[in-house]
């Protein structure tokens, strides 16, 4: 079967920093594919390259076999790519449900004139978007906060709000950048459940996360980056027993956490 995402020899620099350096990998449909690595290894940058936030200076990105290198993010979104952000990018002045409704943007097919005159088609569209958004809020457990301004939600809730919003797009491939940051162990387990459910529904998931328990537990494959380069790619067991990975990234804490994944 074709890869959902194919990244080939991709690279980008910032000033002197080679943030990502000739990295290649593939993600197969339905997989949960994790990218881990030390701080500054280039994980978020990789997501930025894939989602069109940055344009790669080298290499190519293919989405479902189609070359999409250099396409702007809003075009990629229409091809089924969606993501969350490590640094929250919530629409703080909108309510929670409106945040998710914005996620429906590419599915909202009404003309400007219709919108200006609030024609029935627009009203129907608004209702549909709202309903879908409510479902998703419910899915991430924020239904009771739907009409609160996003700015007043605590950090953990915002993380989940971003997940709901990115799902609203109806993605084929979902990039999650540290979804469990700022969540305690129990909350992380909830996120874990969410991700697995998302994957089960047929969405391919790429995950960046420092919570080793989560990563080791749910990943089908793991890519380890270090200094912008690929250190190793493999299954959870392969990765967590790799001495280089342990030395550069896991340390004692990571190893214990990873071990707890087995419970």
């Amino acid at each position: 079967m074709n890869a959902v995402l194919e990244v080939k020899d991709i690279g980008i620099d910032f000033g002197g920093v080679r943030a990502v350096d000739e990295v290649s990998f593939e993600i197969r449909p339905g997989q949960i594919f994790s990218i881990i690595g030390p701080n500054g290894a280039g994980k978020t940058t990789m997501f930025n390259l894939i989602s069109g936030v940055y344009t790669p200076s080298r290499g190519a990105v293919k989405l479902a076999g189609e070359d999409v290198t250099g396409l702007p993010p809003h075009r990629l979104a229409r091809l089924g790519l969606s993501r969350t952000f490590q640094n929250l990018q919530v629409y703080f002045r909108m309510t929670a449900v409106e945040n998710v409704m914005v996620g429906r943007h590419i599915h909202e097919h009404v003309g400007i004139t219709a919108q200006l005159f609030n024609l029935p088609s627009v009203r129907a569209q608004n209702r549909a978007s709202r309903q879908k958004a409510m479902e998703l809020l419910d899915f991430v457990g924020l239904a009771d906060k739907a009409d609160e301004p996003a700015g007043s939600l605590p950090y953990g809730a915002l993380k989940r709000l971003e997940i709901a919003r990115s799902l609203a797009l109806g993605p084929k491939l979902l990039l999650l950048d540290e979804p469990a940051a700022g969540c305690n162990a129990v909350e992380t387990e909830e996120i874990d459940g969410l991700i697995q459910e998302i994957a089960k529904s047929g969405v391919t998931v790429a995950l960046v996360e420092h919570d080793m328990r989560l990563v080791m537990k749910i990943s089908d494959r793991i890519l380890v980056l270090d200094y912008g380069r690929k250190l190793i790619e493999g299954t959870a067991t392969e990765v967590r027993n790799d001495p280089e990975v342990i030395a550069a990234y896991l340390g004692a804490h990571g190893q214990t956490e990873a071990a707890r994944a087995d419970h």
Partner: protein, 233 residues
């Protein structure tokens, strides 16, 4: 050293902290555990004076500091690593760190800088780049380094391990212990409750703005309520 009495604070009609009592002895590491939205961040901000309080008092070394301006509190050597890093994006890394020493008018900055650079060598390598370009974890290191630059007596840490690679989580917790050994007092908010309680002397558990229970860190680690609600065991 730090005594919080019946503290309340919030945002408009929403009360986020509802009558909290906490005390931290000199030289202790005390950790605060709680779920999303329990009010941890609000409490820490109130201690630093960047969040208005609506009731109660905050005593530091016997002095009521509830009405002091944030910079006056920093002048009494209270430093905070805030949630969400809050680095000065347009400034260089080294400038960010130097500003951490603002309270001491930048005195002995070189010595402190070396110390921080030895904990976080990446920061040294990037000392002249703009902080806004750093990765999330790197910014977190910077935020921690910046707080350490002030040579605090009381260090308030709001989820310092957030976004850090596992290997660094060890280091941070190690550094916290070193700080304590050097005479600092630490009040730690951490989602990684297991790790936090492992290095702490005591702990408080906060639930929807109220202290639910507290105790010896070791006892809390064994406490069933803590285990099921926060450690996920």
């Amino acid at each position: 050293m730090l005594t919080i009495e019946n503290l309340t604070s919030g945002y408009g009609r929403i009360e986020a902290v509802k009558g909290v009592d906490i005390h931290v002895e000199k030289g202790e590491i005390v950790t605060l555990v709680g779920a999303n939205g329990a009010g941890k961040t609000t409490l820490l901000r109130a201690i630093s004076g960047v969040q208005p309080i609506t009731g109660g008092r905050i005593l530091f070394e016997g002095e009521d500091i509830s009405r002091l301006k944030p910079h006056q509190r920093v002048a009494r050597a209270i430093a905070q690593v805030p949630e969400g890093r809050q680095v000065f994006g347009p400034l260089t890394i080294e400038d960010n760190l130097r500003l951490g020493a603002y309270r001491r008018n930048g005195k002995n900055s070189a010595r402190y800088l070396e110390r921080i650079y030895s904990i976080f060598p990446v920061l040294k390598a990037r000392r002249n780049s703009i902080a806004g370009g750093l990765s999330g974890g790197q910014q977190q290191m910077l935020a921690i380094g910046r707080a350490l630059m002030s040579g605090p007596k009381l260090l308030l840490l709001d989820e310092p391990s957030m976004g850090l690679a596992p290997i660094l989580v060890d280091q941070i917790l190690e550094a916290v212990k070193v700080m304590r050994a050097e005479g600092a007092t630490v009040f730690l908010v951490e989602q990684n409750a297991f790790a936090a309680l492992s290095i702490a002397d005591r702990g408080y558990v906060i639930e929807t703005g109220k202290i639910a229970f507290s105790g010896n860190a070791r006892d809390l680690l064994e406490d069933e309520r803590v285990k099921s609600a926060y450690l996920g065991l």
